[in-house]
């Protein structure tokens, strides 16, 4: 070591040089990582979700004609997700909104909008809620786990299935 310039420099100067090189190169690498990952700070993301009946004969095709619109919800990990779900069936048919573990959610279920609405029930930390015709619900949770998770109607499987995509 003493044969190199390392040994000739004073301790304070060595520390100063090392600190400057480390901080500058660290900031450069940090800028690069930030650019690559493009993370957004966690935020509240609101979605409107509906059921949809496709125009085909369920008996003939032997599958339900119900689907979710949209069938994919994409958020960043840490986001607070609010879903306004409405059962817009033209016939008296119920639908559930159920999520795969580990996700559970809080929900406020509202009464039939044609009869004035109003709160029908409040639920905390549940895996699913059921809505009747013309009922709505506000579902909220925090996307704490990255990955792809199903949300589905337990009554209309396998067609009424959507996917929550949480980017980690």
């Amino acid at each position: 070591m003493t044969g190199s310039g390392f040994g000739k420099l004073s301790t304070a100067r060595l520390l100063m040089v090392a600190a400057i090189i480390a901080i500058v190169s660290g900031a450069s690498v940090g800028l690069g990582i930030g650019y690559v990952i493009h993370y957004d700070a966690p935020t509240t993301r609101t979605f409107y979700l509906f059921d949809r009946s496709l125009p085909f004969n369920e008996t003939l095709f032997k599958i339900p004609h119900d689907t979710f619109v949209p069938d994919t919800i994409t958020v960043n990990k840490g986001d607070h997700v609010v879903i306004h779900f409405a059962d817009i069936e033209s016939t008296p048919e119920g639908h559930t909104f159920t999520m795969d573990p580990p996700y559970t959610f809080d929900a406020v279920v509202y009464k039939d909008v044609t009869q004035g609405g109003g709160v029908a029930g409040t639920f905390t930390n549940v895996p699913g809620v059921i809505l009747g015709q013309s009922q709505t619900a506000t579902i909220s949770f925090t996307a704490n786990w990255a990955g792809t998770f199903r949300y589905f109607c337990e009554i209309h499987q396998p067609t009424m299935t959507g996917y929550l995509v949480v980017i980690g």
């Binding site: 070591m1 301790t11 520390l15 090392a18 660290g26 900031a27 990582i33 930030g34 990952i37 993370y39």
Partner: protein, 114 residues
């Protein structure tokens, strides 16, 4: 002054374990880098404990600590990532480690027993 070396080793091990915990707790590309950081800290703890090339290794650990602090601060400012209790604790201990390494390096270069 021997305690400065062992306190550095202890701090390096604590930060290494915290970095592993962080990498394990939060999924994602950026968080996975914390595994690498933690691994290097634990390796550094062994090198400092063994007193291998002390002048070089102590200065390198000091620079590595500031390097990671600077990376974290830049990413946090740019993206808002890594602003949580675990990261704050990790960076607070890193700051203490940087001061520890300065004292250790100065004593070491002055020829004191470290």
């Amino acid at each position: 002054m021997k305690y400065l070396r062992w306190s550095a080793v202890a701090l390096l091990l604590v930060i290494g374990i915290l970095d592993f915990y962080y990498g394990n707790s939060f999924a994602g590309f950026y968080e996975n880098l914390w595994y690498v950081m933690g691994g290097i800290y634990i390796f550094a703890a062994l090198v400092i404990a063994a007193n291998i090339e002390p002048h070089f290794s102590q200065l390198t650990v000091f620079a590595y600590t500031l390097f990671l602090w600077s990376v974290w601060a830049t990413v946090a400012l740019e993206t808002g990532t890594g602003l949580d209790v675990v990261a704050y604790a990790d960076k607070a201990i890193e700051a203490i480690l940087a001061v520890n390494m300065v004292l250790l390096f100065r004593n070491s270069r002055a020829g004191l027993i470290v």
